[in-house]
Chain length 268, copies 2
Amino acid sequence: MIIIGERINATRKTIARAIEKRDAAFIKKEAEKQRLAGAHYLDLNAGLGKGTEKEDLGWLIHTVQEQDQGPLTLDSSDPAVLAECLPLVENPEVMINSINGEEKRIKGLLPVLKNHPQVKLIALTMDDSGIPQTAEKRIQVADQLIKLVTAETNLPVENIYVDCLVQPISVDTRNGLVFLDAMKELKRLYPGVKTTCGLSNVSFGLPERKKINQYFLVVSLAHGLDSAIIDPTLPEMQEAVCLSQTVLGQDEYCLNYLRFARAVSGKG
Amino acid sequence: MIIIGERINATRKTIARAIEKRDAAFIKKEAEKQRLAGAHYLDLNAGLGKGTEKEDLGWLIHTVQEQDQGPLTLDSSDPAVLAECLPLVENPEVMINSINGEEKRIKGLLPVLKNHPQVKLIALTMDDSGIPQTAEKRIQVADQLIKLVTAETNLPVENIYVDCLVQPISVDTRNGLVFLDAMKELKRLYPGVKTTCGLSNVSFGLPERKKINQYFLVVSLAHGLDSAIIDPTLPEMQEAVCLSQTVLGQDEYCLNYLRFARAVSGKG
């Protein structure tokens, strides 16, 4: 399971401030914390809404690469920003967050993907009409995106990480199920395709949101989720990732669990 | 999801002592605690290994029925004990724990089931050769048991609760998966059949066993587990049951979760 650390995101006030002030030490600390907590990729989002995203994302990439050489996820809705920033990334393991079914986004991103056929690509199951309410329609959007990307670029289906987009269960109790059903069916249709998930929407409007996020991650992993965009420094997420892998047979000799249990009981 | 409270079991020293001393107050308290914690059925096991099981189980039934009239699960490996004790149970919602593929057990239990076609029946996927190591062979045992019971008695398949028997993941990392795979396939073959699970084996030999049990319950519920034999008074189990149901769309308007969150945050 691939963990994408979500903390370096300009929607967080501390990150926005650090980007504006070019506070490299703060960003590096955020990078280090997430790597130590097990992040495989670090998501970098510099969308301050001030027309400086290219420079800001370029600075984030440069800053984090001074800290470590691990894989990055470039997070932008602007294909031009991605086109300019991708060449700055030194590690060939790089991910784009994200494409979706919106015509403008597709048109802008396809040329970028053609020039970078090694990238991993997060694909959101929404289009110009918004997020479809049913699992069937989300699968349709994913299906069209997968067909288009693999036909028009050299990206293999294995590089596509579909996010079936979970909506708040406080709005409709079945919203979690719609996500899980879409993901299951998509994996049946495309055995090679990967899946990912941004969790925080699921708990919108509820108290103790971290608990809901934690359990939604566990049931998603039980359904074969390949990757998640999370804050890996949260104990709830660490527990969910470690324990899920242990009970789902992905923790050889339970070694990760034994380490986890020692750390939790303070003997580690 | 049906919770079967496991606490009144003679393998626990305090329960064995209470049975021997006919300490009705202690047993009633155990019954009350579990009902308050959400147990639908109370498992009653009086197997002291002293040749007094009929009288002891009869006394347990009598004692618990003085406390409340909720459903009971009679837990014995001796068909003669079950035959004698079933008529003592007043609530028509009654469960037998358990049948399995052992010839002697089948021979002894079929006549009992013929006389009580309304019971619910826990069926373990093991036979005279022990517990099969593969999901396929456990399904074979379940398949044979289901065919035999439904052919020879009037029990509908919906009354059969198959326990695919989880073995310790400390012995083989994939043991949890074998259980989950067997359960999934069984549900595909018999859409009407129910499933259940005694959890504690999964964590045998590991530290912080309650955590492992908790997560194994969650992933099992994500795979459609219908019932579990657990200690419902444990916070770990309460959290797993409540949160799983909430994220899996089984908690209308998240009302149970809101109650749970209030209680946990001390405002309830």
